[in-house]
Amino acid sequence: MKKDFKIFCIVFVFLLLISFNIYADDANPEQILKVGIGTDIGTFDVIKFTSSNDMKAASLVFETLITLDPNDLGMPVPLLATSWKQINEITWIFNLRKGVKFIDGTPFNAAAVKFSLERAITALKSSRFQGMIKVVNIINDYQVEIKLKEPSSSFFTGLSRQTASIISPTAVKKYGEDWFKNPVGTGMFKLEEWIPGRYVAFTRNEDYWGTPAKLEKVVFYPIVNEDTRLMSFKSGEINVCEDLPAYEVPNIEADPNLNIQIQPQLRTIFLTLNTLCDTLKDIRVRKAIALAIDKEGIFKYVMEGIAPEAKYGLFPPQILTKDEPIGYGYDPELAKKLLAEAGYADGLELELWVPEGRYAKGVEICKVVQGQLSKVGIKVNISIMESGSFWELTSNYDIDKKFQMLLIGWLLPPDPFPVFLVLFNSDSNVNFSNYRFPGFEARNILASRTADKDERDQIYLDMDKEVVEYVAIIPIYYGAMIYGVNAEVQEFAGHPMDYLLIADTWIK
């Protein structure tokens, strides 16, 4: 027995000593950023993105010709293109950066740009690629001419989005169908390992053309349950937590080792109403619904005062400046009156669908809406669906849609044209409101051709007002991403379009 005990003690002390070495030397901390995100990455294939998290991951390995200054979203900033010149209404010439290589050694040049952009246009059926590009012509190795189908004010916005990432033509040919998990780009990081459901790991691109990143490694951990993600963050397993639950903000701020960063995002969460279905086709019914929802209450009590109430219509003031609120306020008495006028004095029944886990507090908002509408006699049945099935069931071209109300969120590029194009167009598969007015669509195109920004914005403003007053949509809140950031992480920021700005981030 005594001998066994001695051996045990020796082994124990040995293990103890080893364990002290597992902790990284504090004087030289590992430069690893561990980010907890809400939903898993679906693909790195830029023309098949399934969510903004895919774009977030893509932004680490790919680059676009230009990017948008986060503090002035109308301003394009050179990235892979160094300068550009407008030749006529529909033609632009871009000068490309020299000396850039993809991580597989392929040189970055005009051929790669032509390949990437034309691949994006031909592959997408709906008008999601907001570039309206007709063709890309190679002038020489470092100059391309881009011709648009028609004049478009959202061209630069389209070029800045990850769908317009420049990808390596050789890699696409080489990997074929496996391309979606073998991204080859010019970005600051490259994909090291991707285990679906567990993590996506990136390492620094040592051959990056510009100033290399300070971080050696970035890892995304998809943790769907927000409490689990919060616990991971608090325990230090991850050093950045996305979509931190709002009620935890005071606790985190009180902790000296943890910080909160709130980044307003260009994403609006809103209800869509199927304006052609039997129950909702009377505008008085829709107005009643809008009047019965207490948006300020939702802002205060569900969003805990963090994500602002969507007082200004679909587009937040950062995109379209507005002086006064758009839409209907909170007046349940008027709502009841309107319902009675429309013949629903005895109440009516409605279905509300929402995708689970996709939008911060989405399900809670639906339950609050259910409670508020019941006070004016409207019985709401909520269907909480798995995200994939939700989009499958709601994205179609039919006029005869099977749904009535949806709660969705939409990431908004700084230019309204593409949003109006996809959300309110007869030939769009995501026209959830069944909004079919040719005059509206024509105005959208007219606005995109208007060179003068103020004139253009006025048209868009009128259109925004129109869809809100028609109650095709009821905007609820403007997105604000709550990042939990460990105090050791320096110079971390989020972009309003929901990707990470980590070029200068380092770990203290």
């Binding site: 927000e226 409490d227 639950p245 009620y247 209450g297 205060k300 009590y301 569900v302 689970e356 809670e364 639906c366 339950k367 609050v368 259910q370 409670g371 508020q372 019941s374 049945n381 909520i382 269907s383 909480i384």
Partner: protein, 273 residues
């Protein structure tokens, strides 16, 4: 006579009292409940227990005590309907399989084996995927997945007596099959049925609460206890009472039904132990 024996066991007595109290609450819910269980008061969300709200309020400001009280109705309906369905089909399958034997028995038992292959959870997801979530679908899912167990028990119990002398004599007199089944077999396995009804009650209640917790059963704003757990789980750190209270009641009800079932089994048919 049998009541006296049942009451001799303290735990069974306790279980019966609890169940009767909950039944009473379920029947008189509108009179006992201090507030409307679906009325939201967002400014007071997650309120801890106070004098006016002895169980506090849920994440939408609804009074938890009222939701527990009305929840007894939901839970009772769930339990009784679910148990009835599983017992009803289990008895039919079991008795027929035992009585007719041969090919019919094989067919029935293999069908039952197919059902047994589905864990109730998977079966519930299947139903939900096809028909959408809902309380009744959850009840059906659980009840159907419990049928195999009941079938086997009933078949076993029936087999014990199907070849006994008095059944043979009944047949000899000329009693037709139905008469034999209903008058003789059924009566004799009735004690088994009663015991299993109580046990199924507890399983169904627990199963439906679990499915509702996952969002596959009861839908908002129904005050079902499992759904209350689902709504409260995001706030365990700051408002645990919203989870603890419905949880305690689920445990209480399920435990009582279980104990009663055990007690009944002890009293009615010690051979079954």
């Amino acid at each position: 006579m049998f009541w006296k024996r049942l009451f001799r066991s303290k735990s069974s007595l306790f279980a019966i009292v609890i169940l009767l109290i909950i039944l009473f609450v379920a029947i008189f819910a509108p009179f006992l409940s201090p507030y409307d269980p679906t009325e939201q008061s967002l400014e007071f969300r997650r309120e801890l227990p106070t004098k006016e709200h002895p169980f506090g309020r849920d994440p939408f400001g609804r009074d938890i005590l009222s939701r527990i009280i009305y929840g007894t109705r939901v839970t009772f309906v769930v339990g009784i309907m679910g148990a009835l369905i599983s017992i009803f089909f289990g008895v039919i399958f079991g008795i027929f399989a035992a009585y007719y034997g041969g090919r019919l028995s094989s067919i029935i038992m293999r069908l039952v084996d197919v059902l047994l292959a589905f864990p109730y959870f998977i079966f519930a997801i299947l139903l939900v995927a096809i028909f959408g979530p809902g309380l009744w679908k959850a009840i059906m899912a659980i009840a159907i997945s419990e049928i195999p167990k009941v079938t086997r028990i009933i078949r076993g119990a029936t087999l014990n007596i199907v070849n006994s002398e008095y059944i043979e004599s009944a047949r000899a007199i000329g009693a037709n099959n139905f008469r034999i089944i209903f008058n003789h077999l059924l009566i004799n396995v009735s004690s088994v049925i009663i015991v299993y009804f109580s046990l199924e009650l507890s399983h169904v209640i627990l199963g439906v609460a679990a499915l509702s917790f996952l969002g596959l059963g009861a839908q908002p704003p129904l005050p079902e206890w499992g759904l209350m757990l689902n709504e409260a789980k995001g706030y365990l750190m700051i408002a645990p009472h919203m989870s603890i209270i419905p949880g305690v009641f689920i445990v209480l009800l399920v435990l009582s039904a279980n104990i009663l079932g055990d007690g009944l089994r002890d009293v009615l048919d010690p051979k079954l132990k």
